[in-house]
């Protein structure tokens, strides 16, 4: 029953999460919390670990959550379920992709999704960077919160104005984390 629930949940996420891996964070977060699958703190560790592991971040999440729920079988089920909806959709679409590209109504449908994807990404940025400081007034006006804001801004400007290698970028932030917190 738990495995079926896991499978259906990841099918749903796979079918409705537009905008790629980082836009999936609000989905995973909500489902983990609702089903009590893992602690929020443990899941953020997975997000951090995923940065130094190769490959798609969403699979780190599905494999981890699946493992927590049902061991290796759970982990397989969750990862397959996450990839299944778009796999099936793409097999159909790739065949007709010229028609797909030029269909105005489909284009309009996907245009409607894009602002929602921005909303998803804003929530992801909040969950990753600021959520832990909105627990109390003390946490919000603490020195730690200030350091966090400065780091987020610094990161943004590094990405905006340099062509830094992603691994180097993550390594810098790991070191900054050790030094500053």
């Amino acid at each position: 029953m738990k495995l079926l629930d896991l499978f259906i949940t990841f099918i749903k996420i796979g079918a409705f999460s537009f905008g790629g891996g980082y836009a999936m964070i609000p989905f995973f977060e909500k489902e983990i919390y609702m089903h009590n699958w893992s602690s929020a703190g443990d899941y953020t560790k997975v997000i951090a670990l995923a940065q130094v592991l190769p490959g798609p971040f969403a699979i780190d999440s599905s494999a981890y959550i699946g493992y927590k729920v049902g061991g290796i079988v759970g982990s397989l089920l969750a990862s397959i379920a996450l990839s299944l909806p778009s796999f099936l959709a793409l097999i159909i679409i790739t065949r007709y992709y010229i028609q797909f590209k030029s269909n105005t109504y489909l284009q309009i449908a996907f245009t409607g999704v894009r602002p929602a994807v921005i909303g998803m990404l804003i929530s992801s940025a909040y969950i990753l960077g600021m959520q832990s400081f909105f627990t109390s007034i003390q946490a919000l006006i603490s020195m730690t919160a200030l350091k966090a804001i400065i780091l987020i801004l610094a990161g943004f400007f590094i990405l905006r104005f340099t062509k830094i290698n992603p691994l180097v970028y993550i390594a810098i932030f790991a070191v900054l984390g050790i030094v500053l917190f």
Binding site: G21, A48, P56, A58, K101, G112, G119, I170
Partner: protein, 186 residues
């Protein structure tokens, strides 16, 4: 012959899955090198088209593009093996860490490093928002949708699936009206 092709597909996407860091968009240069220049399976223009479909559909961008390229080269089984190969390295690595090395993640130094990394990822996400903004937000109506979906997610804690379906439907109707109105003006 077919088996050899499927094996090559598997190896290629396994390889890309092993060396791709930094999210969906960072795989594009790796795809170019492996699929266009080395294997000569697709042309660069084709790859660009495929990537735009991979990004439009739900799901993981890297895995979606593996499915599309795999299908183009080897039909159903091509798509199957390319997709499987694209998720295998990550899957195995995180599973090994979760099963055998999870206790080390409580190490205080590592916890601090994680804190730093998460803030770095937060900037990464903010940066990708600024890059997407121009194509995603074209008028005031879109801005309302961005604000609406953000509020629903963050303040009202509404399920992300409901937010996507809701805002996408409103967005579809709104953009349809704008499209029809624009059509009449012409």
């Amino acid at each position: 012959m077919k088996v050899k092709l499927l094996m090559q597909l598997f190896i290629s996407f396994f390889k890309i899955g092993m060396i791709s860091f930094g999210g969906g968009y960072a795989v594009i240069p790796l795809f170019q090198r492996e699929l266009v220049e080395y294997r000569k399976w697709v042309e660069i223009d084709e790859l660009t088209d495929m990537m735009s479909i991979a990004q439009t559909l739900p799901g993981i961008i890297f895995v979606n593009s593996a499915t599309i390229v795999g299908y183009k080269i080897g039909r159903f089984w091509g798509a199957f093996f390319a997709t499987l190969a694209s998720i295998t390295p990550t899957f195995v690595l995180i599973l090994v860490i979760t099963a055998y090395f999870w206790k080390y993640t409580d190490n205080p130094i590592l916890v601090k490093a994680f804190t730093g990394v998460l803030l770095g990822v937060s900037s990464l996400v903010i940066y990708s928002i600024t890059k997407m903004w121009k194509t995603a937000v074209k008028n005031y109506f879109d801005i309302i949708l961005v604000v609406l979906s953000t509020l629903l997610l963050l303040i009202f804690k509404v399920n992300a699936i409901i937010v996507i379906i809701g805002t996408a439907s409103i967005g579809f109707l709104g953009n349809l009206l704008i499209f029809k109105a624009g059509g009449m003006n012409k």
